[in-house]
């Protein structure tokens, strides 16, 4: 077959070659057209939200789309949040509330990601290196036990936790939310970290033990520095999931520990067509993660593909 192809190639007419080139160019155009189309689908809602935060009522009603061309950008939305250049120096209760929610989101997301990466990495290292036996469960079963928590839908835990947290005086507290978020991301962290530790040769552990290091010394001095990329990936993925979490936050927080998604959700109904301030709030809520996504994309992809694709 291959031989036939090479023999027949020179005898092809010029018209055939041109046709092939045309087909090739058409294929390229098609690919780039599809890429541009999906880039538009991916970005337009973000573009729409950012520009809408700078529109006045008239621009919204007339469906203006392009700043400076068909509408004059205005700080209206950002002023209502107290974050525009002229209001940034003044006292603003809305801004205080926004910053409070923003900080709550940061505390919970970072706290939970840190805790999950800490205990998740330890467990993953143990599962990767040692042979455990607990009741009937061996390593394989223990791994599955941790992973299977991923199936547990938030709604199953939400109501029991509502009651438990009320009894434990943890309702509407950041620490309560941190513990729950840690639980939700722990399976993912263990998955990523186990994949990471499995790629580090066990000979390194053995060498460290010959040098007199115990299991904990080996872990902290030798293995941990090598597993850092995986830890960063697990941390960032946890951060994204915790930052965006709404269900638990909506049920278990009130005035004190309310996070940003709850604030965004609570504004959508009440304010009618006050689009510019909603758009500004949404922009502020998604901006940190868009930045993280663009800058740390490498780690996000690493985290997402851990364990699921073996080269």
């Amino acid at each position: 077959m291959a031989a036939e192809a090479t023999i027949s190639a020179p005898s092809a007419t010029d018209a055939g070659a041109a046709g092939r080139r045309l087909k090739h160019v058409a294929g390229k155009v098609g690919i780039y057209a599809a890429l541009v189309f999906w880039a538009f689908v991916s970005l337009f809602p973000v573009y729409w939200t950012i520009t809408t935060s700078m529109k006045v009522a008239k621009d919204v009603q007339l469906g203006r789309l392009i700043p400076w061309v068909d509408f004059q950008p205005n700080w209206l939305g950002w002023r209502s949040l107290g974050l525009s250049p002229d209001t940034i120096g003044q006292v603003s209760t809305v801004r205080d509330e926004f910053l409070d929610r923003f900080l709550n989101s940061i505390y919970t997301a970072f706290g939970a990601s840190f805790l999950a990466v800490l205990i998740g990495s330890l467990a993953a290292y143990g599962l990767s290196r040692f042979q455990y036996k607990f009741l009937w469960m061996k390593n394989q079963d223990l791994s599955f036990f941790f992973l299977s928590q991923l199936i547990l839908p938030p709604v199953v835990l939400a109501l029991p936790f509502l009651v438990l947290y009320r009894e434990l005086a943890l309702l509407d507290s950041i620490i309560g939310l941190v513990l729950l978020y840690t639980l939700t991301v722990l399976p993912i962290v263990i998955w990523i970290m186990k994949d990471q530790f499995d790629t580090i040769p066990i000979e390194l552990d053995e060498a460290a033990q010959v040098d007199g290091l115990g299991p904990w010394g080996t872990f902290f001095r030798i293995i941990l520095p090598m597993a850092l990329p995986g830890m960063v990936a697990a941390f960032i993925l946890s951060l994204i999931l915790c930052w965006n979490e709404y269900f638990f936050a909506a049920l278990l927080t009130g005035a004190e520990a309310k996070t940003l998604p709850v604030m965004v959700a609570s504004q959508t109904g009440s304010q009618g067509i006050n689009w510019w301030s909603m758009a500004a709030l949404s922009t502020a809520a998604i901006a940190p993660l868009v930045v993280v996504g663009v800058l740390l994309e490498r780690y996000i992809i690493r985290g997402l593909t851990a364990g699921s694709v073996k080269g």
């Binding site: 143990g126 965004v264 998604i286």
Partner: protein, 364 residues
């Protein structure tokens, strides 16, 4: 291994082992005693003046630490190794297993947070009410539809992964752009897309639909159109996840196989169906199963955009139970609904994994 262990780990003295055992026993007794006293306190039998269950929580934490120390004392090196997995195991047991069992005990009560009478065991009343609850079964049916849509998401994601894997310039740029929706909070997306872009008067999508010739386009009044838009928003956020998995699979695929097919004169269409697709099956199935697991948790977008409307057409089980609690404070019945859902999805996922296991990538 045995050679490298330092002598102190090798042989554990009897005294040390007994000490460890005593420590764990003492901590267990303390934990149980505190728990019992608290139970008596909250039952009003022994008034200790405790307002919450924090003491029991602290006793549990103390017990966990004692268990860890006891492991090392009793088992030496093996105990040190057990210490790696112990925090995560205890954490999961305390935060997932215990609340689930606790939830099971709530599920058989008529507990309503709004009523003053407190909880009362009511046997299978909740289960019977569930069986006769048309809104719950409606939400279940919607979940089936939403889960089936995963296949559409998969098809789109596969197309995008193929695009990104083609010979294109600035591959990293396109990849970052395609990934952005995944970063966004579903609640923010609810406003950005559901409440503003799909607004029937001024939203750009409504404007575009009118320009195409539709009179009065509305997106959340017809059941099927509403469901489609909810699904579209959820898909928009999650397609990048499936796409990234498939792209990694495509990039890990041996190039020679494709080249060989090319030399054999297979058309691109044949190459895809006869070579690429079969080779991608393990990654595909892994991606689809993971996506289904996440899809079964769908709630945020529905709660914030439609609250399940119109007439329950877009309700997911989670959003339905959320309202059962939010509007009626019906903890007992809501928990029964959730527990029943858990049983259904555990059976479903187990069967799914059983059928697909041999096609999947190794996961654990």
């Amino acid at each position: 291994m045995a050679l490298t262990e330092s002598p102190s780990y090798g042989a554990i003295s009897r005294r040390r082992r007994d000490g460890g055992r005593a420590l764990v026993a003492a901590a267990t007794v303390l934990f149980l005693a505190v728990g019992l006293l608290q139970a008596l306190n909250s039952a009003g039998l022994v008034p200790l003046g405790l307002r919450d269950w924090r003491p029991t929580l602290y006793a549990f934490l103390l017990w966990s630490v004692a268990l860890g120390v006891g492991q090392v004392m009793m088992r030496g090196d093996a105990g040190l190794k057990a210490l790696f997995i112990l925090p995560a195991a205890l954490f999961t047991a305390a935060m997932a297993i215990f609340p689930t069992l606790f939830g099971l005990s709530i599920a058989f009560t008529d507990w309503n947070l709004a009523s003053l009478t407190g909880q009362k065991f009511n046997g299978f009343d909740n289960l019977l009410q569930l069986i006769g609850d048309p809104f719950y079964w409606n939400a279940m049916r919607n979940m089936v539809i939403y889960v089936l849509f995963v296949l559409v998401e998969y098809a789109v994601a596969f197309g995008l992964a193929l695009l990104l894997n083609a010979e294109i310039r600035a591959r990293k740029f396109w990849r970052v752009v395609f990934l952005i929706p995944l970063m966004l909070s579903p609640v923010a997306v609810s406003w950005m897309v559901g409440k503003s872009m799909l607004e029937y008067r001024f939203g750009p999508v409504a404007r575009f639909a009118r320009w195409l010739g539709f009179n009065n386009p509305t997106f959340f009044t017809d059941p099927w159109i509403a469901r489609l838009w909810i699904e579209a928003m959820d898909a928009w956020v999650s397609i990048p996840f499936v796409m990234i998995l498939l792209l990694a699979g495509l990039q890990a695929m041996p190039k020679e196989v494709i080249e060989a097919a090319k030399v054999d004169g297979a058309s691109p269409w044949q190459r895809f169906w006869q070579v690429v697709f079969p080779l991608m099956l393990p990654v595909s199935i892994t991606a689809i199963v993971l996506r289904i697991i996440f899809k079964l948790k769908l709630a945020d977008i529905i709660i914030t955009v439609t609250s399940g409307g119109p007439g329950g057409a877009t309700d997911s089980v989670s959003s339905f139970i959320y309202r059962e609690y939010r509007d009626r404070s019906n903890v007992g019945y809501g928990t029964m609904l959730a527990m029943f859902y858990l049983v259904v999805i555990v059976i479903f996922i187990t069967l799914l994994l059983k059928f697909l296991r041999k096609h999947m990538q190794r996961m654990t």
